[in-house]
């Protein structure tokens, strides 16, 4: 074996020796989540070390459902996330399209404002948003309250603007010369071509809505209107609660997303990476 390939082998071994323990540590909380979700409470709170799943997931789920209507909350979460994703993708791609395709009065200002909001803390708008939605519009504990205010999204617009500007504009001009109306060019030429980018955006937006905690906690605090994370959050810190049940809920919130992540990893990563790399 040549010294070059020996050196490569040495480096490779070193690399794996360092990265493998780190990967194990990183996977550990997720693994424990699954393990806890299959253990009875007296098993979780026992002195022994348990690292392998047991068989009590269904019991734990029943305990959870007894503590809070988790299935109902999951239903709300799914419905809200799907609706939110649809409208948010539509709105952000329309805005991204306008910024990519047209020259218009005030374009520079619109772009500057969108860029400016990226680094503005959400906390600044939280209180007035709450007062407006809860007191002025009387929309607390409705789906509208969960869906509409988070629709503004600056990274998504910049992402879609980038996607549309990378397409050859001759395509849109060709359709325009043929007399196709602009909204039809958008719908039937631009959007179909942007499918991979739309997929990436949709995944990120769905995830954001699915995991959103603070806003739903504030605005939809009534038991029948809670999303799944909020419903689960109310149990944490209660004294007489099934921790196995909480873990079962955590697994139900997490595992579907992990499956989506594995299946659509490419879109996922594209969506997140687009934030930084122009």
């Amino acid at each position: 074996m040549s010294s070059l390939s020996q050196r490569r082998l040495g480096r490779s071994v070193l690399l794996h020796l360092f990265l493998t323990p780190l990967a194990v540590i990183w996977l550990f909380p997720l693994w424990m989540m699954v393990v806890f979700s299959t253990m009875p409470d007296n098993g979780i709170f026992s002195p022994g070390i348990e690292l392998l799943p047991h068989g009590n997931f269904v019991d734990n789920f029943n305990n959870l459902q007894r503590d809070t209507n988790f299935v109902g909350a999951i239903g709300i979460s799914v419905a809200v996330a799907v609706t939110y994703t649809f409208f948010s993708v539509l709105l952000t791609s329309m805005a991204g399209w306008a910024l990519a395709r047209y020259q218009f009065f005030g374009k520079g200002a619109v772009v500057a404002i969108i860029l400016g909001t990226i680094t503005l803390p959400y906390a600044v708008v939280l209180i007035p948003q709450f007062i407006m939605v809860a007191r002025d519009f009387q929309l607390a504990n409705t789906w509208v309250a969960l869906i509409v205010p988070p629709l503004f999204n600056s990274l998504g617009v910049l992402f879609m603007r980038q996607a549309f500007s990378m397409m050859p504009h001759d395509l849109f001009d060709a359709a325009r010369v043929e007399g196709v109306k602009e909204w039809r060019i958008f719908l039937f030429v631009a959007l179909p071509l942007a499918r991979p980018m739309l997929a990436a955006l949709a995944i990120i937006l769905f995830l954001a809505s699915w995991n959103n905690y603070l806003w739903p906690l504030l605005i939809n605090s009534q038991p029948g209107a809670m999303t799944a994370p909020v419903a689960l959050g109310t149990l944490i810190g209660l004294t007489k609660v099934s921790w196995g049940g909480i873990m079962a809920g955590a697994v139900m919130l997490t595992v579907p997303m992990l499956v989506v992540f594995v299946l659509l990893q490419r879109h996922f990563i594209a969506g997140i990476a687009a934030g930084a790399v122009k």
């Binding site: 490779s12 990265l19 209180i127 689960l232 955590a250």
Partner: protein, 286 residues
């Protein structure tokens, strides 16, 4: 290109409408609310009521101190870790790359509530797996929830676990946009791998690193869920209370909107200052 004002704004209107109602107005509104006494009906204009209280409030300074402490320790550690992850994941020598990527990126999809619950259990004093593992190698148990220092450490560990992979994804994309031939040229010039990292990778990656740092700082500055759920409303005794938690307590527990708005604007002021530093750090050399 022709000017097409009407068409452009037809596409933009829904988006701008949402923006105006749920962002522009609230930004103005919370600024105004911060100058009002909001615990009387009707609210009345009192310019020094909230801001005056803020500068004399030990709870505010406690939250500010905790937030800045987490920020100063957790963000650099996490970004460094994320750079290491990204560089190693990018190595051509790595086998079963998909598995490692899954391990580091998976926390990105985990919700705050779910992972907060897991961390509470894992770090439990008597029955948590962490303390059991410490004990099994002969170390003393750590009371993560009753003492301030371990509690702060726990918050930082949790946030780092959740967000390091997210930053690594962004950094990895940045790494992959550095052309391979730069490294080939350096190798031919007998520049060692370690020197290549410090003299090629880091400088070329700087804008992305700064971007990650700013996003992380702004995220950490608003930290709410972890001290809310893991350390039980900022416990022990306010030891992990953050600005985000103070805002929540004042705004939505005491319904003191004016004071909460002043806290929010303090956070915005910090964010603007940090953004300006970012712009300065990544300015184009003249």
């Amino acid at each position: 290109m022709r000017y097409q004002n009407a068409t452009a704004y037809r596409f933009l209107t829904p988006y701008l409408l949402i923006f105006a109602i749920f962002w522009v107005w609230p930004i103005i509104s919370s600024f105004m609310i911060s100058f009002q006494a909001t615990r009387t009906v009707p609210w009345r204009f009192a310019p020094t009521f909230n801001w005056g209280r803020l500068i004399g409030d030990p709870a505010f300074f406690n939250a500010l101190k905790n937030t800045l402490l987490i920020l100063v320790i957790q963000v650099p550690v996490m970004i460094s870790l994320a750079i290491v992850m990204a560089v190693l994941l990018n190595s051509p020598l790595l086998k079963v790359r998909g598995l490692y990527r899954f391990a580091f990126f998976a926390p990105v999809v985990v919700g705050e509530v779910a992972y907060s619950a897991v961390f509470r259990l894992m770090f439990n004093l008597d029955f948590g797996i962490i303390n059991k593992l410490l004990a099994s190698v002969g170390l003393a148990k750590i009371d993560w929830f009753s003492n301030v220092t371990p509690a702060m450490a726990l918050i930082m560990i949790a946030v780092t676990w959740r967000w390091a992979g997210y930053n690594a994804i962004i950094l990895l994309a940045g790494l992959q946009s550095i052309p391979e031939d730069v490294y080939e040229a350096a190798t031919l010039d007998r520049v060692s791998k370690v020197k290549q990292f410090f003299y090629i990778t880091l400088p070329l990656l700087k804008p992305v690193i700064v971007f990650c740092a700013v996003l992380s700082i702004i995220g950490t500055m608003q930290l709410f869920t972890e001290p809310f759920l893991i350390t039980e409303r900022g416990g022990p005794g306010g030891g992990t209370e953050t600005l985000g938690l103070l805002l929540y307590r004042q705004g939505f527990r005491s319904l003191n909107f004016g004071y909460a708005s002043a806290v929010a604007y303090t956070m915005a002021g910090l964010a603007i200052a940090i953004t300006l530093v970012q712009l300065w750090l990544t300015r184009e050399p003249k």
